[in-house]
Symmetry: C2
Subunit: 212 residues, 2 copies
């Protein structure tokens, strides 16, 4: 399971569907963000080189390059999510007979919980960055492929919301209340940003679909 | 490109991001529905065999089996989406010098457009079926994995909306107005169903996350 992205799509789905602890919802959210970035990139690639869109070619090329960078980042985030989960599971196997062992185990569990909260926040932030790109692309990307800019918006938004459920499930177990407060503030900010960007991008796509 | 699911996840993302016509947004919507089904199945697999959930084990096993069937169906739908797109592209390469050639070409384009509308409707319907499973699973699936039922709901909803954008982009080009009216009615029905099921499933997941 060390390199999920080298496995066939069929095998990735199969292992996701199983009771194996990884990939879990955070990783699947990151993969979905990767597909959102791929759709943004495709729309850019179908816009670049077309006479009709010559005026925006430079801007669309920049968007495409950032989309591809975020698509690659999704792969790193899946690795991070699976690694965090592994550390978490290891803690629960640690001995807890003496007070010292119990304290050490609890400390490492708390650290793992913080990691299991930070990585989904990173995944959601990457997906918000994809929404920023889609919001910029929706008014200028090729009319022919504009529905796929909408697909990118829906998938990136779902990736944000899916990733952030992993914040909700972990924070009740975290004792460091200042960490929890910051994580929840970060989460709410990302949710708000995602809603604004997604709604605007989808409205632009709908308008352009109606005028086609 | 004949068997996308045998390719590595990395290569699938790469070809999606390129200017290759397939896989397009409809196929990516179907893949997202597949991941939604995989998350529903995972939650079931983490519920089955646990003493705490013995009372719902039979029901959850049935949900798991239906989720796996829908995950496999996603693969067929991707193939169908890519095949339809191929037919569509072939039409545009057909000769159109004589009136007879023009008429034949236009007839086949119209048929391809109908296929390119029906397949996304099939994808959206499959994703709505996944939402029905998630809606049934959300109140009874393992508390430990309940955030992943939420992930399944967000992804299936995004798959519905993404697939249906391909209806919007094709119907303005279809001349058979009775076909168009039926397609739009079907589309609106699926959107309404998806909204109700997704909202209820996500509300259940949120309630259970708060009580954990």
């Amino acid at each position: 399971m060390s390199d999920l992205f080298s496995q066939s799509l069929r095998d990735v789905l199969k292992v996701s569907a199983s009771s194996e602890p990884t990939p879990g919802g955070g990783s699947i959210a990151a993969i979905t963000a990767g597909f959102a970035a791929s759709m943004a990139s495709m729309v850019c690639n179908l816009t670049i080189g077309k006479k009709k869109y010559k005026d925006v070619e430079e801007q669309v090329t920049r968007i495409r390059d950032r989309a591809l960078a975020l698509m690659n980042r999704a792969e790193d985030l899946v690795q991070a999510d699976m690694a965090v989960f592994g550390r978490f599971m290891e803690c629960y196997k640690m001995p807890a007979s003496t007070d010292e062992e119990k304290e050490r185990r609890e400390h490492l569990i708390q650290e793992a919980l913080k990691g299991a909260t930070e990585t989904p926040l990173d995944i959601a932030r990457a997906a918000v960055s994809i929404l920023e790109l889609v919001d910029e692309l929706a008014p200028i990307g090729s009319q022919m492929a504009i529905s796929d800019a909408g697909v990118a918006a829906f998938l990136a938004d779902a990736a944000v919301r899916s990733a952030l459920l992993n914040v909700d499930i972990n924070v009740p177990l975290i004792k460091d209340q200042s960490f929890v407060a910051k994580a929840l503030e970060h989460k709410n900010g990302l949710l708000e940003q995602a809603a604004v960007l997604k709604d605007r991008a989808v409205a632009t796509v709908s308008r352009r679909l109606q005028s086609s």
